[in-house]
């Protein structure tokens, strides 16, 4: 009798432990899914099954929000005027050291794929003092100097901060959005990755696959 009680207690304990482990595992998966969903909504890096974290943007597979910004010469440039071309929207800043590593790669790839209908829009996320004419002129001059120093051949637009909300925060630079010929976001990148990864995403935007 005593032995039966012990065995029964142990079995019950075992079942309880398994039940708790199952519940904990379910909770873990549920919360992980919620975190992942929250990260995606904000456009963040999330861990994937591969080693490299991946930038999941809420804009993925959606039309890129249209915008009109001024370039360094004061000319207004709209994203919509690039329809029919594959476009890389590259957010960068003069104070961003990784951006300076990435830019020469983008220039090379732009020159390589331009004939296939590919263009880059560089968008500076540098702060602009829009209410202070003198400061604004100095800030524009600093951006222009960087563009000249790096021999950037594609349009560089100003006031990228104004797109922060529509493009998912832009809390980290460089950040890139790859648009196909219809203006749909087909790939996104945050941070410095590699020239190969940039090229793969450009080819994806061109519809050439990886």
């Amino acid at each position: 009798m005593k032995r039966n009680t012990v065995v029964l207690s142990v079995v019950l304990l075992l079942l309880a432990a398994f039940a708790w482990a199952g519940w904990a595992n379910w909770e873990y998966r549920k919360q992980a899914a919620e975190l992942r969903a929250a990260a995606v909504a904000r456009g963040e890096l999330v861990a994937t099954s591969s080693d490299a974290p991946q930038f999941l943007s809420p804009l993925m597979n959606k039309p890129a929000p249209d915008f009109t910004l001024q370039d360094l010469s004061g000319k207004k440039v709209s994203l919509s005027s690039y329809k029919g071309k594959a476009v890389l929207i590259n957010f960068w800043a003069t104070w961003c050291a990784p951006c300076k590593i990435e830019t020469p790669w983008i220039i090379d790839l732009r020159n390589q794929y331009a004939a296939q209908g590919f263009e880059v829009l560089g968008i500076s996320a540098d702060d602009l003092d829009l209410n202070d004419k003198q400061k604004l002129a100095e800030e524009k001059q600093q951006i222009a100097a960087t563009v000249q120093q790096m021999h950037i051949p594609y349009p560089v637009l100003l006031n990228g901060d104004s797109l922060s909300q529509s493009y998912g925060g832009l809390d980290e630079l460089p950040t890139s959005f790859f648009l196909d010929r219809n203006g749909t976001v087909v790939a996104t990148q945050i941070g410095l990755t590699s020239k190969d990864e940039l090229e793969g995403n450009i080819r994806k935007a061109l519809g050439a696959g990886k």
Binding site: L13, L35, D127
Partner: protein, 167 residues
């Protein structure tokens, strides 16, 4: 009997331990955003007493979040944003000058030729302040720009709250 009980106990414990192994993800995942938003944390002091009207040295301690670096006060390139301390005027306390620690050499893995001058981990700024007589809740500002090996966050200021008592 004892062996059986020990085996059963171990069998009970195993799934519990496995389940607990997974728990850190609950805490780790959201921390990345938090770290990036608050790349620099002011540590101490919260309160200082200094002779009123006389320049006094105060050591301000900060910590840069793990995995990040910020430019030193004297970055090597003019395009980089230096770390700088300021005290608002009309706070009853004036910042006469600040002595910053020298930056440590740092290179990005993908650009080993370019040396950056940065702060990582804990660093101390020696501020020389002049306080008027009385109790002043000063909200100094430390402006910085943080990056990791692959990406940079926009320049930001962290508030440095110090209760300065001028005696």
């Amino acid at each position: 009997m004892k062996t059986i009980l020990a085996t059963v106990f171990a069998a009970c414990l195993a799934p519990v331990l496995v389940a607990q192994q997974q728990l850190p993800l609950f805490n780790d995942a959201p921390n990345r955003s938090l770290t990036r938003t608050n790349a620099v944390q002011y540590l101490f002091p919260e309160q200082v007493s200094v002779p009123a009207g006389k320049p006094s040295a105060v050591e301000l301690h900060f910590r840069v979040a793990q995995g990040l670096h910020i430019n030193s006060h004297t970055p090597r390139d003019s395009y980089l944003i230096p770390t700088a301390l300021s005290i608002p005027t009309a706070s009853g306390v004036r910042l006469e000058n600040a002595t910053y620690p020298p930056g440590e050499d740092f290179t990005l893995p993908l650009d080993p030729k370019t040396r950056l001058s940065v702060y990582t981990g804990e660093f101390v700024i020696q501020a020389r302040i002049v306080a008027q007589r009385g109790n002043h809740l000063v909200e100094a500002q430390l402006r910085y720009q943080a990056c990791d090996n692959n990406e940079c966050m926009p320049p930001k200021s962290v508030t440095v709250p110090i209760d300065v008592i001028g005696k």
